[in-house]
């Protein structure tokens, strides 16, 4: 499996970077190229293919197969049919009826991701993960030990294939922005170095849409000015840009167009938040069902907090309505908690405080923020709180779950299983006749 990928990878690397490209692949003159952007190729799909070698080379997508499912990852074979992530599953199947759909397995992806991030951290402590499958690395220190950035990039690619059996693409450049553009250009299974003195020649022919922060609206505004490429933007007086798209955005784009991006690689301080959310199989308006889902999500979030030895001070509730408008409400607690009941009570209060009159809800989410280590976090107790209380009870539940499997002990309200309608078997009231 990995052998075939390596061979394929090598071919693609050659093919991807053409010789007339202004950028020299494998350039040794990589002075100042300290930033690496590493991006896994079709990450979820690649993870799945590790255990399904029979599917290699076929159009494969990962995603929920229900009526509401969307594509979360697609192999490059599937992408040739025009399939891309975030596309509704039904559309993907129309584009390629032969496509193979695999259900997502987030535990697997998290595990592979942890392995990949560990490789990065072997190289440098300055790792800024952007998601499960991509990260920025600052290798300015590591170069003294490991040689030129390009070699480091190749070493990372080789180790990822070797240890995790998936491929990735690395962009090497003096700034985060250029590094990300470089990896996008070199995908899949490639590596591209953009030396400092080639940044402008690399950047200027790109369409304005490549600039970080340019969405549809800004792109339209720039097009109206007749600016199609990054070079056009760079050669427009900054005042003109500011008039067209505003002070902040104008200055920002002008700087980027000249390859200037001062953002450092920031190592995140611990985990920022832990959350869980659920899209209902169909929109619901029964507060009882929403409460139950909030309970289930709270149990999940709090058990992850306990598992990681963290407590959270801020609980956030997210609600997406049938028309896709999304709101979130948060409450900060007196002291950090990892107790499911407290997370649930807070999230449910936030939901009740919305005062929804049977508004149709598409999704609810519960998130714990303001995380600190449980061991160094003071815990405010109530005067009438028993010394051994819910926290201890839930720790016992965790132990039972560890031994007998998830859900060995759970709130009675969540017990109803055996139905696959996503409501945990709860009877769903039929829609009243109009």
């Amino acid at each position: 499996m990995s052998r075939s990928q390596i061979t394929r990878g090598a071919r693609l690397t050659q093919a991807d970077v053409s010789t007339d490209d202004p950028v020299i692949d494998g350039a040794r003159d990589d002075d100042g190229c300290n930033i690496l952007h590493v991006d896994m190729d079709a990450f979820y799909a690649s993870c799945e293919l590790r255990s399904r070698p029979d599917l290699v080379g076929k159009p494969v997508i990962v995603g929920g197969d229900g009526s509401r499912g969307v594509v979360t990852a697609a192999t490059y074979e599937a992408r040739r049919y025009g399939i891309h992530s975030a596309m509704p599953m039904s559309r993907a199947k129309r584009l390629c009826p032969a496509v193979i759909v695999l259900p997502p397995n987030f535990a697997l992806y998290t595990e592979v991701s942890a392995g990949v991030m560990a490789i990065f951290r072997d190289v440098t402590p300055y790792v800024e993960p952007l998601s499960l499958d991509e990260a920025f690395l600052d290798v300015s220190g590591a170069r003294r030990r490991l040689g030129p950035s390009a070699d480091i990039a190749d070493m990372i690619r080789a180790r990822v294939v070797d240890e995790q059996g998936i491929t990735c693409t690395v962009g090497v450049a003096p700034t985060k922005f250029i590094a990300k553009l470089a990896s996008t250009r070199a995908k899949p299974d490639g590596r591209l170095v953009v030396p400092t003195d080639r940044v402008i020649t690399f950047l200027h022919p790109l369409p304005v849409g490549s600039l970080w922060g340019v969405g549809d609206k800004t792109e339209q505004a720039l097009t109206r000015l007749g600016l199609a490429t990054v070079g056009d933007v760079a050669h427009t007086p900054v005042d003109t840009l500011i008039r067209a798209i505003g002070q902040a955005a104008g200055t920002h784009l002008y700087e980027l167009a000249w390859g200037r991006d001062p953002r450092p690689v920031v190592v995140p301080e611990g985990e920022k938040s832990i959350g869980a959310e659920e899209t209902f199989p169909r929109d619901i308006d029964d507060p009882e069902l929403v409460h139950r889902e909030i309970l289930r999500l709270s149990e999940r979030v709090a058990s992850r907090l306990r598992h990681q030895g963290l407590v959270s001070r801020t609980i956030v509730l997210k609600v997406r309505f049938a028309d896709f408008t999304t709101i979130s409400r948060s409450r900060t607690l007196r002291s950090g908690t990892d107790i499911s009941r407290e997370v649930y009570a807070t999230a449910r209060d936030l939901y009740d405080a919305l005062g929804l009159e049977r508004a149709r809800i598409r999704l609810v989410g519960v998130r714990a923020e303001g995380l600190t280590e449980a061991d160094d976090s003071p815990r405010y107790m109530f005067l009438d709180e028993p010394e051994i209380g819910w926290r201890e009870a839930e720790q016992a539940v965790d132990k039972a779950s560890a031994r007998f499997g998830k859900g060995a002990v759970q709130p009675a309200r969540l017990l109803d299983t055996g139905s696959s309608d996503g409501f945990g078997g709860a009877p769903v009231a039929p829609r009243p006749p109009r």
């Binding site: 001070r313 007196r334 002291s335 209060d349 449980a374 061991d375 160094d376 976090s377 003071p378 815990r379 405010y380 107790m381 109530f382 005067l383 009438d384 709180e385 010394e387 926290r391």
Partner: protein, 373 residues
């Protein structure tokens, strides 16, 4: 209507009555202050269906009458008037306020729909204003401020014969104060839950009275009101519903360690040390060997340390508190020395005044902060 009185008299009376006016009245007329002039007396009233205020002052009444004006505006005006007699008269649908060479014309509000103020509840008794104000202030500090738990935003008032007990808790601390009063009739046994903020404001505003009348309907016949009256000023407030926690069960009956320390010195030390206690982190107190050591700050953050003399009796104990809650309790004791008693580092500590260690009239119960799981 037309009357005249001294600037200080009207300014005080208006300020006291307007004190409880709602900032966002549910009905426009509730932002009004009712002025009623009768035979050489002036009555000012305010009411928002929760709290009523009424004050009687003597005035030179030339023409009796009744009018409703914006209370906030009248309070602002009377506060800044020059020191001279003030004349207030109604001219058509407007009120004219004249003082020295300045004059104001205010619109009136329709007076006919103004609700009548509730009567004072039946049973009553008296207590010196300063005693009452001090007792309420000591207790109200522990009341909750979270409106989602309305029961805890109140002060529990218990009257049993000639003793009044006040109690308040936000579940992190509990303050209990007992004091004697003079009931009009004996064998009283009534309880009520009074909004803490209103009670504290009222008690403070009546602190200067030699005698404050307290009125609370006997249990069972409760019309949900408590009344306060002193020096011609009268306030009623609606009571809170709900079951106040059974706080007596929380008061520990025994202790493993007791300590006595100079209150002012401990307050100063807590203030200093808690400078490095970031939001929400506690200050740790270690009581042992004739001193208490205070510490705050952890790990790589700033840290502080201070120790002071303290007589310690019993086992050494290390215990952590929210610095603000600790300061609140120490200040509320109002005693030169503080007596602290502990059972364990995870059970409530009790603070009492050192001068009345044997039978404290005030107890401040404080839940420690647990440091690690």
């Amino acid at each position: 209507m037309k009357f005249r009185l001294e600037r200080d008299v009207i300014a005080d009376a208006v300020a006291w009555t307007a004190r409880t006016l709602p900032t966002r009245p549910s009905m426009p007329m509730l932002a009004g202050l009712l002025i009623e002039a009768t035979d050489q007396q002036l009555m000012l009233s305010s009411f928002d269906f929760e709290v009523s205020g009424r004050v009687l002052v003597n005035a030179d009444v030339m023409e009796p009458g009744r009018v409703l004006v914006s209370g906030r505006l009248l309070a602002d005006i009377s506060r800044l008037l020059p020191a001279a007699p003030v004349t207030i008269s109604v001219e058509g649908s407007r009120v004219e306020v004249t003082c020295g060479r300045s004059s104001f014309t205010l619109p009136t509000l329709p007076v006919d729909d103004y609700p009548s103020l509730p009567d004072m509840p039946g049973s009553s008794g008296t207590v010196p204003g300063s005693v009452f104000a001090h007792a309420v202030a000591q207790v109200a500090i522990a009341a909750g401020r979270d409106d989602t738990l309305p029961t805890l935003t109140g002060v529990r008032v218990e009257i049993l014969d000639n003793t009044i007990t006040l109690a308040a808790t936000d579940r992190y601390r509990l303050a209990v104060r007992e004091f004697p009063w003079t009931p009009a009739n004996t064998s009283l046994d009534v309880q009520a839950l009074v909004p803490a903020r209103t009670l504290a404001d009222t008690a403070k505003s009546l602190a200067g009275c030699d005698e404050v009348h307290l009125a609370l309907a006997a249990s069972g016949a409760s019309d949900g009101l408590m009344g306060f009256e002193g020096d011609g000023r009268r306030t009623t407030t609606r009571l809170l519903d709900g079951e106040f926690p059974k706080y007596r069960a929380l008061l520990p009956s025994e202790s493993a360690t007791t300590a006595t320390v100079d209150t002012a010195a401990l307050v100063e030390a807590v203030k200093r040390v808690s400078l490095v206690a970031e939001r929400n982190t506690p200050v740790r107190l270690m009581f042992a060997d004739g001193e208490v050591e205070l510490r705050a700050g952890t790990g790589d953050e700033a840290q502080a340390n201070e120790s002071l003399e303290c007589s310690v009796d019993g086992a050494a104990i290390e215990i952590a508190f929210n610095p603000q809650y600790l300061q609140d309790g120490l200040s509320a004791l109002d005693d030169a020395t503080t007596h602290l008693s502990f059972t364990t580092a995870t059970r409530p500590a009790v603070l009492t005044g050192g001068s009345q260690a044997s039978s404290p009239s005030y107890r401040y119960l404080l839940m420690p902060v647990r440091l690690s799981s």
